[in-house]
Symmetry: C2
């Protein structure tokens, strides 16, 4: 059957959830039922919400209810579906939307990642280890020359990807198209030097209706990938970027503002859905989220739930790269690889730039740490000078 | 100075807020400061965030801090500003964004409502009382003929506006353009009969990039106004609808999904900003929100704060109509008019359709209640039959 099943967690006494569930199932679909004539009931049955399950054992004073919303009630786009399943309900006291299950026929209309983990590995030329990404640091108020130096140092350190800071917008000092062109030129130069190709994700920003044209032009100018603050726009806008064949670039979803919807314990939408399932469905090749270790930290079970949604199989969609972020330094690489395996991106800002030898040394330290974990060697036993310096800095509690 | 000042409420011990505030002011702008050479500090000063104020007396274990973000750090659009002021921060534990103050030069670039309260009063031909709006009820699974009957009955009851249900999308039974055309025809007919013009707000739905074209076409077909689930899209999309001179229709912002961001006590964004200031800035002529009386209820101080943001003067923007909604029946009209004055829209679904005499009688009962309050007559003393029946039904606890 064509339907979306929404699961909610909400407070209530045992025995009270069935009535609540019936109220939602009717209220968000056909409106009323028992007072309708038999004939109308028959006609409306296929539009009526259905209580799919009730779990009164979800916790002390907490239950979970699942409601199936018939696919014929909404157009198959996320604005319509979010409005249906959590429009009015989001305003109604304490209730958290924890999952949506799409029937196959509805799922089929979402694109999923264009590249996915395997496609990105091909672009980056990296087969069997986590990718390494670093982030421009402190670039507000700086000019293109400053960014060029940072980009060159990061690329020489052997990182696979460099991303813009999400708070760098189109601005006179470092305009969007200039960043794209310069990035291309510098990364081509470093590739000549080192043989290693680094990809640059430029921050796609501006008014909503201008994004697609900017993205197309960025591609023409040689952009490798697009960073996108999807939650300051919307999931549907991300999906439209993904679906545009004239863009065709890898899409990196930044979690900025995602916490406004997902951070509260008893309200809004679960992180696993918001940063996990939805981003994979709508076409992000990368999903960034706070790691469980760093300064801005999520709980480990939340983070692993996001990661599962991004990579679980079977799925109609390619896999999205999980990118646990914030406060990552080389000493955390063994933890990251234990928790996320090889199918993740290790992403560091301060952990690269804060290296006493500079960003180039910072990148090398991470690469050395990744090789060591792959080879089963404890980090303390690694000979690499850059890693040794990094470990001694960050073991003293330095901030990644 | 060109800047946005963001105010946050967050937990912490007395004496701890200054350091937090400094950390945010730097972390979300230039990144670092004390370790920069003098010359760089001078160059970067105009990009550096500034702690505008700290209030450690905001409550037990709670403080409020205000940070000024220089306008040159971001493009002047809400996605960029939300990313700056609450991007990473939204993910960082317990913190609520409670206000943004835009400097005049930044404010000037937002459109505000095209019509505003005064412009809508002219369109509706209503000078000196609250407007009355009713909502289609139980229309999912129904056809155009069903909606036509409902629309005719509502209009004959003397309501000023009728709006679509927010969960009615473009669908084969009642397609968007057909609803517009039929709505126009029926309301023209009723106007012939009664002399009273009722306006119909049709629900603008679908994929983001198609909205503006659909809205333009709706206008050509005679649409009166557009209902829009802005929070399932984004504020920037609402603003683009407002700015499009080829649309030019009144915009009615529905709060569906707004609770996902605003409902939690200690996370996300305050209702006054989300449903108040932002909707007025970006151009909503109407802002719907849960009333403090009904089934889905906000607290009264939240509701009044929304209403103030929509209507306070002086302001660079026209006023947005506050539309306290959900569970409204005629017996609540005195409360509504006491709390919101004449400058609001009284909006009822069940409170119109649930009248024993039907939607036409339901509308008349509300109109009688409004006239009575205007004339200073207690509702129980009103002679109108429709109001008498309504009061007797809803005083027994019937649901509006
Ligand atoms: Mg950043
Ligand atoms: Mg409704």
């Amino acid at each position: 059957m064509s339907e979306v099943i929404a699961t909610y967690r909400l407070p209530g006494a045992k025995g009270s959830f069935e009535k609540k569930a019936e109220g939602i199932a009717l209220g968000l679909t056909v409106g009323s039922w028992t007072d309708l004539p038999q004939l109308e009931q028959e006609q409306l049955l296929k539009f009526k919400g259905r209580v799919a399950s009730i779990n009164e054992e979800a916790g002390e004073g907490v239950g979970e209810i699942s409601i199936a919303y018939p696919g014929r009630n909404y157009s198959n786009d996320l604005p319509a579906i979010l409005t249906t399943v959590f429009g009015k309900l989001s305003l109604d006291g304490q209730v958290k939307l924890i999952n949506l299950e799409f029937s196959d026929d509805l799922n089929r209309h979402y694109p999923g990642p264009r590249y996915g983990i395997e496609g990105i590995r091909e672009l980056a030329g990296v087969k069997d280890r986590p990718l390494l990404m670093s982030i421009f640091k402190g670039v507000i108020g700086r000019d293109l020359a400053y960014m060029e130096d940072q980009l060159r140092a990061q690329a020489r350190g052997g990182v696979d990807l460099v991303k813009d800071d999400e708070i760098l917008f189109d601005n006179p000092l470092t305009p969007f198209y200039e960043r794209v062109k310069n990035g291309r030129r510098i990364l081509d130069e470093v590739q000549q030097e080192t043989g290693k190709r680094t990809l640059y994700a430029v921050n796609l920003t501006g008014r909503t209706s201008e994004l697609r044209e900017k993205a197309r032009r960025a591609r023409e100018l040689g952009a490798d990938a697009l960073l996108f603050n999807v939650f300051s726009y919307s999931l549907d806008v991300l999906q439209e970027l993904r679906e545009d064949e004239n863009i065709g670039l890898p899409l990196m979803a930044h979690p900025a503002f995602a916490g406004a919807v997902a951070q509260a314990p008893h309200h809004g939408v679960a992180y696993s859905l918001w940063l996990g399932k939805f981003l994979r469905m709508t076409g992000a090749d990368f999903s960034l989220f706070p790691s469980p270790y760093g300064s801005v930290a999520l709980e480990k079970d939340q983070v692993l739930a996001i990661s599962r949604e991004l990579t679980d199989e079977p799925s109609p969609f390619k896999k999205t790269f999980p990118v646990p972020s914030a406060g990552i330094h080389p000493g955390l690489v063994p933890h990251l690889m234990e928790d996320f395996g090889e199918g993740c991106v290790i992403n560091a800002g301060g952990g690269v730039h804060g290296h006493p030898g500079g960003a180039e040394s910072g990148g090398l330290a991470f690469r050395q740490a990744i090789e060591a974990v792959k080879a089963g060697i404890p980090l303390e036993e690694v000979q690499g000078e850059e890693l040794r310096v990094a470990l001694s800095l960050w073991s003293k509690g330095g901030k990644g």
